[in-house]
Amino acid sequence: MRQALHIFKKDARHLWIEIAVTLLVVAAFTFTCARRAFWLADPAVNRSVASMLLSFLLPLAWWILIARLVHAEALPGDRQFWTTRPYAGKSLLAAKTLFLAVFVNLPLLAAHIVILLAYGFNPLAELPGLLWSQVLITAVLVLPIAALSALTTGFVQLLITGSVLCLALVAWNIGMPSAGLDAGWRALEWIRSYYEIAVLALAALAILVWQYARRRTAAARWLAVAAVVLMALDVLIPWTAAFALQSRLSKQPIDPASLRIDFDSAKQWAARALIEKGDRVWIEIPITIAGIPAGMSPRYDGAIMAIEASDGSTWPADQQPWSHVTSRNRLLSLQATVDSGFYRKVKDQQVTFRGAMCLTLYGHERVANVPFQATPVAVPGGGLCAATPGAGKMNYYLVCNYAFLDPQGPPTYSPFPAGLALDPVNSHVVYRASLYYPFAPFTAATVETSEPLTHLRRDFEISGLRLSDFEVRQKVP
C-alpha cells in the first residue's frame, strides 16, 4: 500500500494540469446542471448549449486524464524505465485505481449530490441511484479507456485504436440486420445494453488485471478483440429469451393461464387480408384479451405467430415466426405479412393462428395533484413536480424532475436504480397556454403514474377463420 500511495502522489504531481482541467469541467457541469433546477423561476438559467457542450467535454477530460495516467507507466513495450524497477504490479494497479477514484469518481459523486440538492432531492434517499450511476459510468466511460490505454504506448496509438474499434462496431451495427421480433426491443432494450456493458466492463477489468500482473500485451489485445466480437454479437440475442428473462423479474407474477386471447368477433370489420403490390399479403385480425386482473392495464411488447391451414400448409414454414401486435383506438390486432403464393393456396381453407403474445401488465396506478405554487411536490415514482401559472396566468408549466430514472421518458423495464447518464436529474416540462384554455384558470396539475408489475407470455390459438372473407385489394393509383 505504501508503494501504491507513493506512485499515486507522483501521478498527482505529474498530472496536476489534467486534474485541474477535469475538476474545472466537473465544476462547470455541476453549476450548469444545478442552475437548471431554477429554470421555472428564471428561464434564463437554462443554458442548454453549455450543458450539452459540458456533457461532451466531461468524458473527454476524463479520457485524457485516464490515458495520461495509464501511459505514465506504459505497459506495452520494453523501453520504459519502470519495467526494470521494483514496481509491484498490484501496487501500480492500486495506485491507478486510487487515482481514478479520487479524481474521477469522487468529484462526479460530489457533483451529483450538489445537483440533487439543488433540485430538492435528498441524496441519502437517492443513494442506490448515486452508487449505481457511479458503477455504470465507471464501466462504460472509465474502464474501457483505461484498458485501451493499457494496450497502447501513447495517446496517438490510443486514438487510432479507439477509432478503429468504434468504426468496426458502427459498421457491424449498420451491416447486421436486426434479428428477432420486428416488434423492436424498446422497453427490453436495457437487457441488450446491460449485456454490452457487462462484456465491456468485464473485458476491460480482465485486460487491466492481466496487463498489470503480467504485461503480456499480445494476449491482452486478443482479449480486447474477443470482447468487441462478443459485444457485436448482441444482435443475436433472441428477443423471446430477453422477454423470458424479463418475466422472471416480474414484481407481481401472475399465472398466464388466467388470460384468454380470442378473435374479436365484435370488431370483425377490422379483419383484413390486404393484397399488396408485389408478392406480399398483409393480414390483420382483431383480437381480444380477457382475464386481465382489475387495476392492471396491458402494454403489448410483441407476439410470435404462425398461420396453419387445414391442408397442413404453414406460414412461416421454417423461420422464426414473428408478427406485430398493435393497439390503437381500442382496437387490438395481430398483423403479419405472408407470401402471396401461400395466401392463394390457403385463403379458402379454415386457418388457425397459433402463437404467443408477450405483454406487460401495469398497475399501482396513482394520481398526484400538483398545485400551482413554487414548492415542488413529491409524486409517486420518486419525482418532484412543480407547477406555475407563469406571468399573468397566461402560460402554465408543469416541471417534473426524477433522480437517475426517467418514468416519463421512453419506457424501460430495467430493474436498476439508475441509467447511464451524466446528469442525475431527468426533467420533463408540460406547457399549456391559457389562450387555448380561456374558460377558467388552472388550479392544479395532475400527475398519473403506474409501474410494470408483471411480464408474461400467453400462448393462443385462434381457429376457424377463412382469409378470403377478409380480402381487400389495394387500390392502384
Partner: protein, 299 residues
C-alpha cells in the same frame, strides 16, 4: 563462484527471425562479463530476456537462480539496469527522479546518491527532458547505482557518447560497483577490453564462446610464417586456423586454439621447412574482427 546469470538453451524468435538460438551462458558472481558481437547479433535480446522484458520462445534464463519470467520486485531491487534507448520520466527533475526512486529500494544510500550526482555533474533541478543524451545516461546510471545493486546490467551503455562521457561513465560504474556482478553488452570491444573479466561473443544469435578474458587472449594468436618456397596452402587446413592469407612465401593466419608447442609442431608438419615463425598476441578488437570475418566466410 556461483552463477548470478544463467541461460539454458535460451531461444527467441520474432516471427520467422531467430534472434537467439539455444544460448547457454553463465555469468559468475563478481565478474564483469562483456557480451560482445556485431550489431544485430542478439545482445540486446539476451539482456531483455534476462530482464523479463521479452518472453523466451524456448529454453530459460535465470537471474539470482530464479526463472527470469518470475523476477519479483525484490529481485529488481538488487538490479541496476541501464540501456541505450531507455525511456525516462522526462517531466521529472534529476533530484525528484532520485527522490521518487528511493522508496523502491531498501538499500538506497542517500550519501552515495548525492555523491553520484556530484561525480556525474548532474544538475539536480533540471528536468530529464532538458538533459543532453550523455547527461540523461548518467542520470540513469546514477539512479541505478545509488542502492548498491548486486547485479548491474548495462545494454550498450556507451553508444553515441563522446569519449569523455564514456570514460566518466566507466569510472562511475567501476568506482561504485564493489562486489557487484556486471553484465555489459557492446559492439565496441575497446570499451570493454580494459575492464571485462569474462567475455561472451555472440554472432547471429549464437554464442560462439564464453570464457574468461585471460584465457581468451591467451588462445588467440596471429601467426606469420615465412616458408622456403611459395606453394598452395596445405590441405586439410586445421579448423582452428582462420582467416588464412598467403602472399608469395609469407602465410598469415589466426590460431584460435593457440598452444606454443602444439601449434609449432602442427606448422612444421604441414609446411615442412619453415624459415621463420612469428607469433603475435592479439588485442580484443583484432580477435573480434577475426571472428566476425571467419563467421562471414563460414556463412
Amino acid at each position: 563462484m556461483s552463477d548470478i546469470l544463467r541461460t539454458v538453451d535460451l531461444s527467441k524468435r520474432f516471427r520467422q527471425n531467430v534472434a537467439l538460438d539455444r544460448m547457454n551462458m553463465d555469468v559468475p558472481e563478481g565478474s564483469i562479463y562483456g557480451l560482445v558481437g556485431p550489431n544485430g547479433a542478439g545482445k540486446t535480446t539476451t539482456i531483455k530476456l534476462l530482464m523479463n522484458l521479452y518472453e523466451p520462445t524456448a529454453g530459460r534464463a535465470e537471474v539470482f537462480g530464479h526463472d527470469s519470467r518470475r523476477l519479483s520486485p525484490r529481485d529488481f531491487a538488487q538490479i541496476g539496469y541501464v540501456s541505450e534507448n531507455q525511456e525516462m520520466p522526462e517531466w521529472m527533475t534529476v533530484e525528484y527522479f532520485m527522490t521518487y526512486l528511493k522508496p523502491f529500494y531498501p538499500s538506497w544510500d542517500d550519501a552515495r546518491a548525492a555523491e553520484l550526482l556530484r561525480q556525474f555533474d548532474l544538475p539536480p533541478g533540471r528536468k530529464l527532458r532538458h538533459l543532453s543524451h550523455g547527461m540523461r545516461r548518467k542520470a540513469a546510471l546514477a539512479s541505478s547505482l545509488a542502492y548498491r545493486p548486486r547485479l548491474i546490467v548495462l545494454d550498450e551503455p556507451f553508444t553515441g557518447l563522446d569519449a569523455l562521457v564514456r570514460d566518466e561513465l566507466i569510472e562511475g560504474v567501476l568506482g561504485n560497483a564493489e562486489g557487484a556482478t556486471i553484465l555489459i553488452s557492446s559492439h565496441d570491444l575497446a570499451e570493454i577490453e580494459s575492464f571485462a573479466s569474462h567475455i561472451g561473443y555472440l554472432d547471429r544469435g549464437r554464442l560462439q564462446f564464453s570464457e574468461e578474458m585471460a584465457s581468451l587472449t591467451e588462445r588467440f594468436r596471429e601467426i606469420e610464417l615465412t616458408i622456403a618456397a611459395p606453394s598452395p596452402l596445405p590441405a586439410p587446413w586445421p579448423a582452428a586456423w582462420v582467416n588464412a592469407e598467403q602472399s608469395a612465401a609469407v602465410v598469415r593466419f589466426v590460431d584460435t586454439e593457440f598452444q606454443q608447442d602444439r601449434t609449432t609442431a602442427e606448422i612444421r608438419r604441414l609446411f615442412g621447412d619453415v624459415r621463420q615463425i612469428a607469433v603475435n598476441p592479439m588485442p580484443l578488437r583484432a580477435i573480434f574482427v577475426t571472428l566476425a570475418k571467419a563467421g562471414r566466410k563460414a556463412a
